[in-house]
Amino acid sequence: MKKYNVINTPVHNIDGIAKVTGRARYTFDISLPHMLHGKILRSPYAHAKILNISVIKAESLPGVKAVVTGQDTLGIKQGIWRRYKELCDEEILARDKVRYIGEPVAAVAAIDEDKAEEALDLIEVEYEPLPAVFEQLEAIKEGAPLIHEHAERNINVTRHIEWGDVDEAFRAADYIREDWFRCSSQAHVCMETHCAVASYTPEGKLTVYTSTQSHYYIQVLLAWILGMRENDVRVISRYTGGGFGSKFELDSAQFCSSLLSMKVCKPVKIVLSREEEFMATKRRTPMFYYLRSGVKKDGSFLAKEARVFTEGGAYTAMGATALYLTGFFQAFPYVWPSYRYDGYRVYTNTAPTSAMRGFGAPQAIFCAETQIDLIADELGIDPIELRRKNVMYPGYEVPGQAYIQSCGINQCLDKVEEWIKSRGELPPNRGIGIAAYGFMSGGIFNWFDTPYAFSSAVIQINIDGKVDLYVGSQDMGQGSNTTMAMICAEELGVRVEDIRLHMGDTENCPVDLGAWGSRETLMQGNAVKMAASDAKRQLLEFAAAKLSPNIVYDMDIKDRWIHLIARPERGISYFDIVKEAIRGKDGQPIIARGHYTPHRKGMISPAYSFGVQAVEAEVDPDTGKISLKNCVTAHDCGQVINPIGVKGQLEGAIAMAAGYGFTEDLPMDEGKILNPNLVDYKILRTTEMPETNVFEVETYEPEGPFGAKEAGEGLTNPTAGALGNAVYHATGVSIKGLPITPEKVLAALKEKNKKKKK
């Protein structure tokens, strides 16, 4: 018999037909009877006191049904870091002070969007503008305007990581290199903007349809700041039009629609405009990075020191996690015998910076991999060789931080090296750059302070063999629904079409912390596997009477066939046993449970994915224009569950990460984003995508379901670095600021030529 019937077979996304026929109903498509439409009034000031808000004129406009301001709230400062009170610093409707352009100050519900928009103009807000500060290195200076009373010098969070004797190791180094880098911001650009439909009813119950990555977080956060019981708030999120880290915090659409609905007892829908999405939702954390590395002549890594100042924006958001993870992944995926990291997250009067796919790691890996190529050049060592000498290996312990079990990075280097060799001599102005990376496979962060398991799952088997699988994980397009159905089908021994998956509803789905930190495959996957295994055991108990095995575990189920493992032809149909089992239990359904919480797995993650990426780029020496030709990735995500899904994640990550590398940016003037639209903010289009190729390097991760690890988020880490290195090898100039624009390339080339002439 085959090892697996379902795992590693190309399975259509179980939501696919709904999506290609236009039937998938997103929050954006929800319309309820008597529904009102809401709009949000936002601060035009980067920093100002709110002296007074008058809503009388707005309220009396015909068609307007409700207006809310901060005075209608409980004034709770919220955040996901509930364990740390000082990090809960954001009121979603500001009461006394606004701290960034776009901060919500009031909201209106009216009979239609036009009327609500009209009413916004009638709300009179009296502001007293305050001096503002926009850059982290300015904001941290003594005497800079203070953004939060409690945060001296605007320092929001600091993080320190250290192991080994760094100073001693630097003394022993043959070669030391230091560089400064600037990593830019990035917008998530989900195609479905943040939106919510909230419906409060006289029973005192609130139902919120919303586009989110974690219905559980939203349920609990809403209940908290609205002063409700958690399970009187129901959050429903069946289809989510993209997330990428932008949709697991409470947002203004969710909060304002809820407040408005509670005021009028009617459903209220709020959809953020694309402009609001750019100006007033969270974004990737910009970082100012100092790196100093010490190595031996032969290329062995000895010591690394990193210092980071991040532009925090006005509130903590998930920025504290990004600050920690960028420090942790700065040393990844290498063995640095000594390492010291100091990170400072600094409040600024800009839109808060937070989680975005990669969560601080793409910044770290861009800087690290750029510097490693410069070191390789100085020492005259091949970039692949230098990396090979220093990469992590199975069984390596990151001191005090993490334990690496499966790790296929060496095989990844081999594959990429082979590919580079196959390219032969490149035409002029072309270069190939590489970057090695790794990522967590499920963040072990319980900042939310929940007593629930990290993930849980429930299974019920019906009389016809159909399996109801209840999961708390959130599919935002990454395909977790399909992954879970596949894991369930494989473990239980049925087919994917036998699974009916239920998700995205706090009323009947078990708790899962949500789709962030690359959690779902490993954490939700383990919970599903455990539940399926329990359900299978219950069926085998009934089959034992028929098949007379020595012990019950001498039997298994594969492809709906319950059989003796040693004699697979001796068996009985899954459907027959399900009927017998249910009959034997007085007609009770077969119900099974599963859960997963990491057990002594360090501070970061139970497992890590690894990979090496090569980018081949061409640079026009006259214009500085970069075009991507090839992007090849050797990838260790453990056991592949769904090859269609993994490939999709890989190509999608390349597009997003290449955008971060050379086309996407959020320039600001005095805290105002200058390109809040899809024309001036340039995500990659078809013609800019390189050819993509992937080599799967198979490893088995003991902690993952069927040996699987994350396969989506970590892939965002290498591309900017590999792209930068490709530009370096094509032109001889290394650009240390993202995005790598034609202007920067031209300026650097000019500088280089000037030096040459001298």
């Binding site: 998530h188 479905e192 397009g477 190509e651 597009a655 639209n677 078809t686």
Partner: protein, 161 residues
């Protein structure tokens, strides 16, 4: 504002509606006819998520007044399947995983339909050009290009429906 009569055929069904003349085509399709398969990602004509066919030509339905479609034939994603049988492009999209979150998919399918109607044998470059305006944040486009190419190469026949 006085309402006007709109006569419009959508997915071969004729409708007469009284609408405000400033209503956009996308609003009429979604809000009046309940055809929510057509999405809106920007409302400024920049993302092409709202692409539909107007008398066979692909248009951004957020940039067309509904009254401009008076008397016209409109096709939306809901019209691609025929009595439950998926179109070649829809089947190819499934096989190639040419969608993830699915929010841009309707627009992508309509642009691809228009492209293949005009040019049944497009090169890869033609396909890239044909869907150049359609933004997708999930897939990186290559799976979509492969899916369209496979249909163009005749791997998915209309008769196999």
């Amino acid at each position: 504002m006085e309402k006007k009569l709109l006569r419009i055929t959508v997915n071969n069904e004729y409708h007469e509606l009284y609408i405000k003349p400033k209503k956009l085509l996308v609003e009429v399709l979604r809000d009046e006819l309940g055809l929510t398969g057509t999405k809106r990602g920007c409302n400024t004509g920049a993302c092409h998520a709202c692409t539909v066919l107007l008398n066979g030509e692909s248009v951004k339905s957020c940039s067309v007044l509904a009254m401009q479609a008076d008397g016209a034939q409109v096709s939306t994603v809901e019209g691609l399947q025929d009595k439950g049988k998926l179109s070649p492009l829809q089947r190819s999209f499934l096989d190639h995983g040419a969608y993830q979150c699915g929010f841009c998919t309707s627009g992508m399918l309509m642009s691809a339909t228009a492209l293949l109607n005009k040019n049944p044998d497009p090169t890869k470059e033609d396909i890239k050009e044909g869907i150049h305006g359609n933004l997708c944040r999930c897939t990186g486009y290559n799976s979509i290009i492969r899916a369209i190419k496979a249909v163009a190469e005749g791997k998915y026949k209309e008769d196999d429906r």
